[in-house]
């Protein structure tokens, strides 16, 4: 009874769980146009993930793994199902998640034999990363919804995300965290594992004993995959930015239920990987168009962001493609040969940014 009264009061006064606020992009997350100005080196139909072994860059595009050779790509292998995650292993092997339900590990990118992991709780495996002692870390966004229905999971306020450690030699799957609000991306950091928890806008460090610690919380974005940076620290991608409107919808249960039941998911008030495709889309920023220009700080329906983290997980700087940009829905980043490659899933672009260029732009 008291709880119900408190909930009512919170909703009335806009406080507690009913507070609809979003942190600003400031400090290390201060906006720029670096991601938007990045060179597009290839365009794909259905790109999903990036991986590098330090010598070559691999791209998961639909059902195929492609290797980047200069400006061209070469198909390495093809599967019967869509690839939902990809990673290169320390021993030269490669691992893929297929349709979010199965993980296959190959000794080399072209090897025919595979070690297959298939667990009933694997439903939306969306990121893979090499772990300690020949293990593989996998994040499973949701056990309730398949990978392609991530937006449904957000609208249902899903809390069924998991993190697995796959022991390749022993062919065993161990769950190190569960009940996460969409686990999407992981990376080993010493003994611990860093995990992005997208719907709670934070980065968790999971210790070997399973204890969890938020090392970066209350982000203004939905964080996704992580990859190591050559000079220490990490690259964290974010596929969309939070807005007060979406936060509001996430607190309005009845409205959300009706929206999900009656409206095409394409036009939901929800984060998207790309926007501006149809006049039916909400939040296109028309009302903040001034003198023919959409203000870049308008509430974005889609956004592009890569955050550089130091070894402690604190942000150093960020690369942006803002509301008036195109390179939105960044889901993966990988550093190779002094350049950062980022995959903007919205427009299907593979972007390249030399680190020297990034430093120059940040200094300007």
């Amino acid at each position: 009874m008291i709880s119900a009264f408190r909930t009512f009061a919170d909703r009335l006064l806009g406080r507690g769980d009913a507070t609809i606020t979003v942190p600003s992009f400031d400090g290390a997350l201060k906006p720029n146009q670096i991601l938007e100005k990045a060179e597009t080196i290839a365009q794909f139909e259905a790109p999903e993930d990036l991986a590098t072994d330090g010598k070559a860059l691999y791209i998961a595009d639909g059902t195929a793994i492609l290797r980047l050779d200069g400006a061209a790509t070469t198909e390495v292998r093809r599967f019967d199902r869509a690839i939902s995650a990809l990673c290169c292993l320390h021993d030269g092997g490669i691992a893929v998640a297929l349709d979010g339900r199965e993980v296959q590990v190959f000794a080399t990118p072209s090897a025919s034999a595979a070690v297959t992991f298939s667990d009933p709780s694997m439903n939306a495996v969306n990121a893979l990363s090499p772990g300690q002692q020949g293990t593989l870390i996998a994040t499973n966004g949701s056990t309730a919804r398949p990978y392609r229905q991530w937006v449904h999971d957000l609208m249902e306020r899903g809390r069924t995300g998991r993190v697995f450690v796959l022991d390749i030699a022993a062919r065993r799957v161990r769950t190190i965290a569960s009940g996460l609000s969409y686990a999407f991306g992981a990376c080993a950091a010493g003994d611990a594992v860093l995990v992005s928890e997208s719907w709670r806008h934070r980065l968790l460090a999971i210790a070997p004993d399973g204890s969890q610690r938020a090392i970066l919380s209350n982000l203004p974005v939905y964080p996704s995959r992580l990859s190591p940076a050559a000079s220490g620290g990490f690259w964290l991608t974010a596929f969309a930015a939070r807005t007060q409107l979406v936060e509001f919808v996430l607190r309005e249960n009845a409205y959300r239920r009706r929206m999900m039941a009656e409206i095409d998911p394409e036009y939901w008030i929800a984060p998207k990987l790309k926007s501006g495709q149809s006049f039916l889309e909400p939040m296109q920023g028309a009302h903040i168009k001034t003198m023919g220009v959409i203000k870049p700080w308008a509430p974005p329906r889609s956004y592009g962001l890569v955050i550089r983290l130091n070894a402690d997980g604190l942000p150093l700087y960020a690369l942006h493609s803002r509301v008036d940009g195109v390179n939105h829905g960044v889901v993966a980043a990988a550093e190779m040969d002094g350049a950062l490659f980022a995959l903007a899933k919205g427009p299907g672009r593979l972007l390249r940014m030399p680190l020297t260029m990034i430093e120059q732009e940040l200094r300007a």
Binding site: G14, S24, D26, G27, R363
Partner: protein
């Protein structure tokens, strides 16, 4: 007719045997703007108070239009054509603007509507945006200052003395003020003004007189001065490089996020304001008066309350907090060093040690039933030494200290609480240059120690000299962020105005 409208010869004023000014010679020419410059305690205010009849000379003479005069009251000075605009407002807060303007000029029957119309016309002629029917107590500092200035102009004084006229004005209002002063000069009015902002003296004044320790140091044409020469003459040492030094070439790296303000609302001043503050950095917050900077951070510190309905969020160390009074904020590690030290900063009739001790008591939950005089003395002694507060003793009353040292007491009162987040609101307003350097060094030291430091200032050189990152506030919210490496005065001002 002599060119000299007002002159003081060998002017000496003793307070309890101590000379506030000693054998000072001063001449004010007809229709000139004369700046009086000096550190706090240099005797500027005393000299001008002698001219305005607030205090009388112990020895020496004063001449007005070549005739010896010794005004004993401000009214007598006004009859001689001398008016003074005081640093502390001398307005009656419960009366309206119009009533304050015509105070002392009442006739047998005053028609209220008449004085409102007259006041409206007069204020408009000065280009002052002040409503004559507004109660003065409800006006902001800048508008009160405007009323003070308007009153002096209204009295048709031949000599107008301004004591720190621009301390509370925004850059735009300062421009209006400068235009007004130049207009007064064109009308033949002589102006004496005291300012700690040396650029103002250099820009506005025809001549500059510098006082140090109650003695006259130099008087010369403003064209013959530059900042370095003024500072050298004021303090007897070269401070120009340490005060608002050269452009920053490095900034501190941000540590953990200490404070996040999200969509904060406090009508009508704060409108959907969002910002972050990081450990180990100085975050400068610049904006014009009315930009909602002070109010935002007062909400953070529990001095003011955010809007009751959908007022936004304050997140401290990752946890939402909402303080209705300052005590829990102090206990959570937030210190707010007020911009108005005389009203909110200290108890002026209490000793230095007791004031600092009060800061410590504020941190203790529920306070203390028994207070320890020994502990108060000990704490006071430590902080007086640490911050180099120039007081004759721990038991010296704060009111007896100079502005700079009073400010150090206010800062000590906050730092004794060992806060993680320290908010300095106009930390060097009305403080002499010597103390400015010391306060700036202290602020830098706090950031070096890993504290999250916020400096709210309307003075651009101060913001640029101190900050690692600069937030610009306009109309109730932060509109722009600059790294100290990329910021220029033009960029910051553009963001603050447009």
């Amino acid at each position: 007719m002599s060119d000299i409208i007002l002159a003081l010869r060998n002017a000496t004023k003793l307070y309890a045997g101590v000379a506030a000014i000693e054998n000072v010679d001063f001449e004010l020419r007809r229709g000139e703007i004369h700046a009086l410059v000096g550190e706090n305690g240099a005797g500027k205010s005393t000299l001008t108070k002698v001219m305005a009849g607030v205090v009388t000379l112990t020895s020496g003479t004063m001449q007005v239009d070549g005739v010896e005069a010794a005004p004993r009251t401000p009214l007598e000075a006004r009859h001689l054509g001398i008016a003074m605009v005081f640093q502390e407002n001398s307005l009656v807060p419960t009366m309206t603007v119009a009533q304050n303007l015509f105070l002392g000029q009442e006739r047998f029957y005053n028609r209220l509507r008449g004085i409102y119309i007259a006041a409206q016309q007069f204020l408009q002629s000065l280009n002052f945006d002040v409503t004559p029917t507004a109660t003065v107590g409800l006006l902001g500092a800048a508008k009160k200052q405007m009323v003070e200035i308007a009153r002096a102009v209204l009295h048709e004084a031949k000599v107008i003395i301004f004591d720190e006229p621009t301390a509370t004005l925004t850059p735009e209002e300062k421009k209006y003020f400068f235009d007004l002063v130049r207009d007064l000069k064109r009308r033949g009015v002589s102006i004496v003004f005291i300012s700690h902002a040396l650029e103002e003296a250099l820009i506005l004044a025809d001549r500059i007189t510098i006082l140090r320790d109650g003695k006259h140091v130099v008087t010369d044409d403003a064209a013959n001065f530059d900042r370095a020469r003024i500072v050298q003459a004021m303090v007897g040492r070269d401070l120009s490089n340490t005060l608002y030094g050269s452009r920053k070439t490095t900034v501190r790296t941000a540590g953990a996020q200490v404070l996040t303000v999200q969509n904060l609302k406090m009508a009508p001043m704060v409108k959907n304001n969002s910002l972050s503050v990081f450990a180990g950095q100085i975050t400068g917050v610049f904006g014009l008066v009315g930009a909602g900077r002070t109010e935002t951070f007062k909400v953070v510190a529990g001095v003011l309350k955010r809007d009751f309905f959908h007022g936004g969020e304050v997140i401290l160390h990752g946890k939402p907090v909402r303080y209705r009074v300052p005590a829990p904020a102090v206990r959570a590690g937030i210190a707010y060093v007020t911009e108005d030290r005389k009203v909110e900063g200290f108890f002026e009739t209490m000793s230095v040690a007791r004031n600092i001790y009060l800061g410590l008591l504020a941190k203790l939950p529920g306070g203390r039933f028994f207070l320890s005089r020994r502990e108060a003395d000990k704490v006071g002694r430590i902080w007086v030494e640490k911050l180099k507060v120039r007081a004759t003793g721990n038991d010296m009353k704060v009111v007896e200290l100079s502005g700079g040292n009073q400010q150090k007491v206010v800062i000590a009162k906050s730092l004794v609480q060992e806060p993680d987040l320290i908010i300095f609101d106009e930390p060097t307003r009305g403080v002499d240059v010597g103390a400015i350097v010391e306060i700036h060094e202290l602020i830098q030291r706090l950031a070096d120690e890993g504290k999250a430091v916020v400096v709210i200032s309307s003075y651009l050189p101060e913001i640029m000299a101190l900050s690692d990152r600069i937030l610009v506030s306009r109309q109730g919210k932060v509109v722009e962020e600059f790294s100290a490496l990329e910021a220029t005065e033009e960029k910051i001002m553009y963001a603050a105005v447009h």
